[in-house]
């Protein structure tokens, strides 16, 4: 039978009479957990930002027609030369169309797949921006602005104007900020673009695009798909690329393989395209966890130390308690409950401090060219971190309390009473 009321009463009295020691022990936990929460919120926030930098704009599967030489040259097909030795010099890529054949049915097919969040058509083409007698080379991509904003967070990279403006205005263009600066253009101006095969199309500027990568912002602009089709003089089934966003990124690899086999197109999944990036993310996560675990272990040792000291100081009390009828287990529970109370109080305070510090960091201005929409340091306040932090506070104080309390349990009262 365990008399919790008495045990907790004794534990409470011990803790309150040694309030300084208790406070120091709890502060050990508080700082450990607080810095864990701060660190992990901040680091995962930064990691998330870096991930978004690449992943948000990147389709999970990118489908296009690759220009490449035929894998089987005609000479190998010719039976009469089957067993002879042929060399074909200077193989040229096969002339094939840039557009995806039957693109619209393929998009419909992909959209009907339950793993797919959305499949968006794009037209990529090279153009010249014409400013007086100067021609600047660049890329124009035809998009569905509303869907791009919805699935690929395009809105984050539009520094002036909006995706809706692009969608609503006929013959409009979302100009890369680099070009706009070079040509001293502002919203509402017109810019002439010329496709490679000639012609001159004035487009109205409805916004500026800034990806954060200067080289890209110097050449890249966006327009509605229809506008680009008109500039190129193509039919409205002319689509060069399909970008697929999935619900779960893990399905990217098998889906890309399927598409390649089924439609005879090139399909690049995000993992292949960003292999180094994946490695970077893994390593950053590894560092985050290594540092957090170190912090928590240090806090745990602090508690162990203080409880150990407490038990040495309380040897006499332990002997008396045992002599007056408290069992070894009661004594162990007294010290365990002290440890757990320290862990609980320190843990809760740590969560609050961590929350406060993380929120504070979240208000510190952080401006970067690379991310026009980010204004303060990114913070990832995942409730899971708080659960982990608190559980660890309880777990580590349990361990830190367990060993000294086990010692208290085993203390022989006779030896202490007779030792004096």
């Amino acid at each position: 039978m365990i008399n919790w009321k008495v045990i907790l009463h004794i534990a409470k009295t011990h803790l309150l009479t040694k309030i300084k020691q208790t406070a120091i022990a709890s502060l050990g936990v508080t700082f450990g957990i607080g810095s864990y929460i701060t660190l992990v919120c901040f680091m995962t926030g930064l990691n998330g930002m870096l991930d978004d930098l690449i992943l948000n704009q990147t389709p999970h599967v990118h489908i296009y027609n690759e220009i490449e030489p035929s894998k089987i040259q005609p000479v190998s097909v010719f039976n009469n030369l089957e067993n002879s030795f042929n060399i074909v010099h200077s193989i040229k890529p096969k002339l094939s169309q840039k557009k995806i054949h039957n693109a619209i049915p393929i998009i419909d097919y992909l959209n009907s797949n339950s793993n797919v969040r959305g499949a968006l058509p794009q037209i990529k083409t090279q153009i010249f921006y014409i400013a007086g007698s100067i021609e600047l080379g660049g890329n124009l991509t035809g998009i569905n602005p509303i869907d791009e904003a919805r699935l690929f967070n395009m809105g984050d990279y539009i520094v002036e104007g909006s995706a809706e403006d692009l969608y609503n205005t006929d013959n409009s263009i979302l100009l890369g900020i680099g070009i706009a600066n070079k040509m001293a253009l502002k919203i509402g101006d017109r810019v002439s673009v010329s496709p490679i095969n000639g012609g001159n199309f004035p487009l109205k500027i409805v916004g500026f695009y800034q990806s954060g990568i200067a080289d890209l912002d110097d050449i890249q602009s966006f327009a509605n798909i229809k506008t680009v089709q008109r500039i190129l003089g193509k039919a409205n089934n002319y689509i060069t690329d399909i970008n697929v966003k999935l619900h779960d990124i893990e399905h990217a690899v098998p889906l890309a393989k399927n598409i390649e086999q089924q439609f005879n197109l090139k399909a690049i999944d995000i993992k292949t395209a960003n292999a180094q990036f994946e490695t970077g993310t893994t390593i950053r996560n590894l560092i985050t966890y290594a540092v957090s675990i170190t912090l928590l272990i240090v806090a745990g040792f602090g508690i162990y130390n203080i409880l150990n000291m407490l038990i040495y100081e309380k040897m006499n009390d332990i002997a008396i308690l045992k002599a007056t009828g408290f069992s070894g287990r009661d004594v162990q529970l007294i010290f365990m409950s002290q440890a757990m109370i320290i862990g609980f109080v320190g843990g809760i305070l740590g969560l609050l401090i961590g929350f406060g510090l993380a929120s504070l960091i979240g208000t510190v201005p952080f401006q970067t060219e690379a991310l026009p929409t980010v204004e303060t340091y990114p913070i990832n306040m995942n409730p899971l971190f708080f659960v982990i932090g608190f559980s660890f506070a309880m777990f580590s104080t349990f361990l830190a309390g367990y060993l000294p309390s086990k010692k208290a349990k085993k203390i022989d009262p006779v030896r202490i009473i007779r030792g004096q």
Partner: protein
């Protein structure tokens, strides 16, 4: 009169630093209401015997009966319960929990036993303190009272669960003659008026001579 505590052929060895036979075939009993003292020279094993009788030391051969119940070989949990309920202790040094008030020190064993409500325990504790004339100290911290008072608090604590026997390891050894006299009178009163059994280890000849029965020990044996 019924026998409260009985020891049969108790042998005890110290294994470190060298094998040493401390207690040799100890046989005796304590009857109800008997005020017994154990005397002997330092190192004759009287304290060792007391701690075996107290159930705190379980490393011995022989048999020990408390209220005619064999308690040798019982598990520690049960022995703790027995100590709590049936045995009261008074040590040479006062051994109070210094961070608790006098009243709390007295109440603690009863709280552990948990046979009574908190109000009853508090009432009982105040009764014991009154009986020992220290009720005015009840709210003081145990570390703030004098030596003689501490010893009386320890006696009150030993009495709180109305034990079958009170054991003392030189309870007056650390007190001046006035306080020692005082403690002796309390013990005497308890033995005569409440029929409590007492077993006191002492060096003090005057103290021992006033008890009902003296057990003389020498070289690990009972002499008289």
């Amino acid at each position: 009169m019924s026998v409260v505590l009985e020891a049969k052929y108790i042998n005890k060895y110290f294994k470190k630093p060298v094998l040493f036979h401390v207690l040799k075939d100890i046989c005796f009993n304590v009857k109800q209401g008997e005020f017994t003292s154990i005397m002997g020279k330092s190192g004759c094993g009287k304290s060792t015997l007391l701690y075996i009788l107290s159930t705190m030391d379980t490393d011995y051969d022989g048999e020990l009966y408390l209220n005619n119940e064999l308690i040798t070989g019982r598990d520690r949990q049960y022995l703790s319960y027995l100590r709590n309920k049936h045995i009261g202790f008074v040590f040479q040094f006062h051994y109070l929990l210094s961070e608790f008030s006098v009243l709390e020190n007295v109440m603690l064993p009863a709280k552990k036993l948990a046979e009574k409500s908190l109000q009853e325990i508090e009432y009982d504790a105040m009764q014991k303190l009154k009986m020992l004339h220290i009720d005015h100290l009840s709210k003081k911290r145990a570390s703030r009272v004098s030596g003689g008072e501490k010893q009386r608090v320890a006696i009150a604590r030993a009495l709180i669960n109305n034990p079958s026997i009170i054991m003392g390891d030189e309870p007056t050894g650390n007190l001046d003659s006035h306080n020692a006299e005082n403690v002796f009178n309390i013990f005497k009163e308890l033995s005569e008026e409440q029929g409590l059994s007492l077993l006191i280890v002492t060096h003090d000849k005057d103290f021992a001579s006033k008890t009902d029965r003296i057990i003389q020990m020498g070289d690990g044996k009972i002499l008289v």
